[in-house]
């Protein structure tokens, strides 16, 4: 069905990103309202889109009225509409939360910051909806360039981390470009659906193997799959809190989506599983990454850095699900994209609240007073941590469950062991925080803390030092983990079952 709706969200973000610097000439305060309204509209449009796709099947839009394969096509199929909704919902909560910490962390830079944020989201949505391989590259670079800016705006070390990310990210994007160059030479088309139809005629061509490997390596860098993760820890640690909370759930997931799209929807399961052992390679690297990320996370003293390493491990789960290349593993991977976006979003927002309220996010300095001062943040942290470990009925359990079932289905017991061991390691590094906060006896009251809580309350604060805008998004994100967990059977049956690629 041809419809305008696939193009609406990227255009909305692009238009608002451009309008922010213009509108903010006189008043810099308009940047935030424009951002949050655009983000809210994107959530509304993507919810409507997923509903339409559900009812009518895939929606397509042809740019300039040129029909594919000549023109550029935007496609909303069940997979892209689902990922778009996840990205936009998480981004909305993170941006809502950003109003409270923005001025404290990067004073006076709200106009460029929000403009870049919207460009970043424009790129993410563009990557998700586009049906054209080269157009995907362009959006990938919009997305990445905005991301470098968002990271580089942070602490003193941030430009160095961002520079390193830029070098590696550019190599990744260039490999992707080289890969689609090979694909274009062989097939003569850049439209994904068209390439899919042409490919069976040229299956024997060795250039296809080169194209596939280059694309997977390139996107593997963006996704931070194990040996290509070098840019991630520094970038997440030194970036402003909002950026970490935005890039961690969205940035790597979008790259994972591109790998799923290219492997299973462009090359096709049959070709991928017969030509090269690339899915096995992804699965094994992901398995190493899961263990490596978890072990490194245990060694970290700073919360954001710990979460960054834990991201590498969680990306490993998604990579493992992709690499298993069977329906159960695939369900696990897609479900984990959803779960990890919510979990990491809320964990990074809690780290942001700690930095805002306590001035640090150093794990060794946490003690029992934090559960009094920041009760809601800590409750949210606990819930998200339990979900990361994978305790039922939180969401994290179910994606690991499907991954484990996929590993059993494949008959690979090493992967099953990896999933179980990593859950144990997750428990170690999260419980050491929970222990400090909840199980340690309350510290002896010092003179400064003797004051009754009423005198500490400021305007707009609910309990302790937390503002509504800092608290509510975190709480909603983490409590929705319970909801996702309880509704996971419906999500899998109604949504993810429909997006299992043909022939899997």
């Amino acid at each position: 069905m041809i419809n305008n709706s696939p193009v609406l969200v990227p255009l909305l973000f692009l238009a608002s990103a451009i309008s922010i610097p213009v509108l903010a000439i006189k008043k810099t305060k308009v940047a935030y309202p424009v951002t949050i309204v655009a983000s809210f509209l994107s959530v509304v449009i993507s919810s409507y889109n997923i509903f339409c796709v559900w009812r009518d099947g895939p929606l397509t839009y042809h740019f300039g009225g040129w029909f594919p394969p000549i023109g550029i096509e935007y496609v909303l199929d069940p997979l892209s509409s689902f990922i778009a909704l996840v990205v936009n919902v998480v981004a909305f909560f993170v941006l809502w939360h950003s109003s409270g910490i923005q001025e404290g962390e990067i004073p006076g830079k709200s106009v460029p910051y929000y403009a870049l944020t919207l460009l970043f989201l424009c790129g993410a949505n563009g990557i998700i909806v586009t049906g054209d391989l080269f157009n995907l590259y362009v959006f990938l670079e919009i997305f990445a360039l905005a991301g470098y800016g968002l990271i580089g705006i942070g602490e003193k070390q941030a430009p160095v981390a961002s520079f390193r990310y830029l070098i590696m990210g550019t190599v990744g994007a260039s490999f992707y470009l080289l890969g689609i160059g090979f694909l274009y030479i062989v097939t003569g088309s850049l439209n994904m659906a068209d390439v899919r139809n042409i490919l069976p005629h040229v299956y024997g061509n060795p250039a296809l193997a080169a194209a596939l490997s280059l694309i997977v390596i390139g996107m593997g860098i963006k996704m931070a799959i194990f040996p290509l993760h070098g840019w991630l820890p520094d970038a997440y640690t030194y970036a402003p809190s909002t950026t970490s909370a935005l890039v961690a759930p969205i940035g790597t997931k979008v790259a994972a989506y591109v790998i799923i799209r290219i492997l299973f929807f462009v090359f096709g399961v049959k070709f991928v599983s017969q030509s090269l052992p690339i899915t096995d390679l992804i699965a094994w690297l992901a398995a190493i990454g899961i263990i490596y990320g978890s072990v490194m996370a245990m060694a970290q003293k700073e919360m954001k850095r710990m979460l960054a390493y834990s991201s590498i491990a969680q990306i490993g789960y998604i990579g493992l699900g992709i690499g298993l290349a069977n329906p159960l593993g695939y369900i696990g991977a897609v479900l984990h994209i959803l779960n990890h976006a919510f979990m990491k979003g809320s964990l990074f927002l809690v780290a942001a609240n700690l930095r805002k309220n306590a001035g640090h996010s150093d794990i060794s300095k946490l003690d029992a007073s934090y559960r009094k001062k920041l009760p809601w943040s800590m409750a949210a942290f606990t819930l998200a941590a339990l979900s990361m470990i994978g305790l039922p009925p939180t969401a994290g359990f179910f994606s690991k469950w499907y991954l484990a079932l996929g590993a059993i289905d494949k008959g690979n017991w090493v992967f099953l062991a990896v999933i179980l061991i990593s859950s144990l390691l997750n428990a170690v590094y999260f419980f050491r925080i929970l222990e400090k906060v909840y199980l340690a006896p309350p510290p002896a009251q010092t003179a400064g803390e003797d004051l009754p809580p009423e005198t500490k309350r400021r305007e707009g604060s609910l309990i302790g030092e937390e503002k509504y805008s800092l608290m509510i998004p975190v709480v909603i994100l983490s409590f929705s983990l319970l909801l996702i967990g309880l509704l996971n059977a419906n999500i899998v049956k109604e949504v993810i079952q429909r997006i299992i690629p043909l022939g899997m």
Binding site: F134, Y137, V138, E141, L145, Y148, G149, G152, K156, Q157, P159, V160, S162, F163, L166, I167, T170, V171, S174, L177, L178, G181, Y184, I185
Partner: protein, 124 residues
């Protein structure tokens, strides 16, 4: 064998450029030199696309009344060139962001040398 090498000399030179670019990015200590490597790397990919559009005994993809439109094989493929115009723009934007980050780094640490930089990052 010589045919294999000579017949694909364009691609061999592109591969050489690609490796020079990668070498610069990985082994050079100076951030500006890394960026030079990155640019060489991107240019090699642009040349790969342009080389793939080349065709013997064909003309530029501009409508020529003498050649006409009946035989499309008489024009070289314009698509790769259009794609690479976009890729050049993307490359320029990347360089712009990269150089502004390098300037920020220099302002904070007064150096662009990576080994010195890492030492100065450790001692705040």
């Amino acid at each position: 064998m010589t045919d294999f090498i000579l017949g694909h000399y364009v691609y061999w030179s592109i591969i050489a450029l690609l490796i020079i670019g990668l070498y610069g990015m990985i082994f050079k200590n100076n951030l500006a030199k890394k960026l030079i490597g990155m640019t060489i790397f991107q240019v090699s990919i642009i040349m790969f696309y342009v080389a793939s559009a080349v065709k013997w005994s064909a003309t530029v993809p501009v409508l020529d009344p003498v050649t006409g439109v009946a035989d499309a094989a008489k024009y070289i493929s314009p698509l790769q060139h259009c794609l690479m115009l976009t890729a050049i723009v993307v490359g320029v934007a990347t360089s712009g962001v990269a150089f502004s980050l390098a300037i920020l780094i220099y302002r904070h640490y007064k150096t662009l040398d990576e080994s010195v930089l890492l030492e100065r990052m450790k001692s705040p």
